[in-house]
């Protein structure tokens, strides 16, 4: 699971986290996290984002509040999380037990030329989450810590927030469906059944 840099391989990490996921719904922030969740196996309960930068965690919150008995996992990048960092306060106040957020932190904006993000310069997202009032957090750098990360995601004792430091190398592009209406409709159908498409 380690890249040559000695840091976690993002795709291997994603593969392990989504293995045997059960009925868990997964929101992936735009860019590499969206490619990652698609590369390890596209799924009706995946919402890979093509845009809406800064919104992944809040989409996770809206879904977690609507479906309190279903685990919801947000996988996103450090740049995406930083853009919507106030969401940590909003989520901490709502206390959704079924919501987990995992930031795959490569300390760079990967889709735009690998410019450095604030986490490269010491900004500590775990400390920010704790400061917001999210009680359960993890900082993951080693493969040996990943089973505990996975267990925390599945525990349902959230809100849970983790940063996993990952290797910055870009992986092979594996693109999800580009028609967002299909991505939304298939998740709604997977959660709500055929009624998803009928008049409310």
């Amino acid at each position: 699971m380690l890249a040559e840099s000695g840091k976690l391989d993002r795709r291997e990490l994603t593969r392990v986290l989504l293995e045997d996921r059960g009925e868990m719904a997964v929101i992936a922030g735009l860019g590499a996290p969206a490619w990652d969740i698609t590369a390890v196996g596209d799924h009706p309960l995946n919402l890979p984002l093509w845009g809406g930068m800064g919104g992944a965690a809040m989409i996770g919150l809206g879904l977690a509040l609507a479906q309190p008995n279903r685990k919801v996992l947000v996988i996103t990048g450090d740049g995406e999380m930083l853009m919507g960092i106030g969401a940590l306060a909003t989520i901490a106040v709502k206390k959704p037990r079924n919501l987990s957020i995992v930031v795959q932190d490569n300390e760079h904006y990967g889709e735009t030329g690998m410019q450095e993000t604030a986490t490269k310069h010491g900004v500590d997202l775990v400390a920010m989450a704790k400061g917001a009032g999210i009680p359960r957090t993890m900082f993951v750098t080693k493969p040996g810590e990943v089973p505990a990360l996975k267990a925390a995601i599945h525990e349902g004792n959230g809100p849970f927030f983790a940063v996993a430091k990952i290797d910055a190398t870009s992986k092979k592009l594996v693109l999800p469906p580009r028609d967002g209406s299909i991505i939304q409709a298939r998740m709604r159908e997977a959660i709500l059944g055929p009624a998803a498409h009928h008049q409310l």
Binding site: A25, G54, M58, I59, A66, G84, A89, K94, S181, L192
Partner: protein
């Protein structure tokens, strides 16, 4: 109401905040996202007192757009309440509604619109309708008390029946403009 509050809340005799609440119930709205505005203060109180409505107070309005997206994925109908200045914070996030065809009704109380005292409210107040429409939002205004409920009803219907962002702008003429005693 706090006499030192800068924003103006609707007159206690005004029935339109309660009419909006009744519409939220009629349309089975389950999630209400908001950044507070004095114009919505009574409606916010009604929602907070309702155990069947999940109220989420946001740090910035664009969070509300993302929240509505997530709520809809999970089968919940939501609305976003905000002041006109907050519309400016939502613009790029509104792309979610177009990408996914997600219903996103917004109920906006206007500042910088009619008799405004605060210069800082004018730029966004004057631009609110244009920028919403530039992002493909169906915008309808209500400038009299009796227009508010039918317009909000239409805004909620058009969002959920036709899968797009929609907005009612509640004019400052209805809410009233505070003058800080400088009439």
């Amino acid at each position: 109401m706090d006499p030192n509050a800068i924003d103006q809340a609707p007159d206690a005799a005004a029935s339109w905040p309660d009419q909006i609440y009744d519409l939220l119930k009629k349309h089975e709205i389950r999630q209400v996202a908001l950044v507070p505005d004095a114009g919505h203060s009574r409606l916010i109180k009604r929602c907070l007192a309702d155990n069947e409505i999940i109220v989420t107070t946001l740090t910035t309005e664009e969070e509300g757009i993302a929240l509505l997206q997530g709520a809809w994925l999970g089968g919940d109908k939501g609305v976003l309440l905000m002041q006109s200045s907050g519309v400016g914070n939502c613009i790029n996030m509104l792309s979610l509604s177009h990408i996914h065809r997600c219903p996103m009704p917004m109920l906006v109380t206007m500042r910088g619109d009619f008799g405004e005292f605060n210069p800082a409210q004018i730029p966004m107040g004057a631009a609110t309708q244009s920028v919403l429409e530039a992002m493909g939002t169906l915008v309808r205004r209500a400038d009299t008390p009796e227009d508010i409920a039918p317009t909000v009803d239409a805004t909620i219907r058009m969002a959920f029946n036709t899968f797009r962002p929609t907005a009612t702008l509640i004019g400052q003429r209805v809410i009233g403009a505070k003058t800080f005693g400088k009439d």
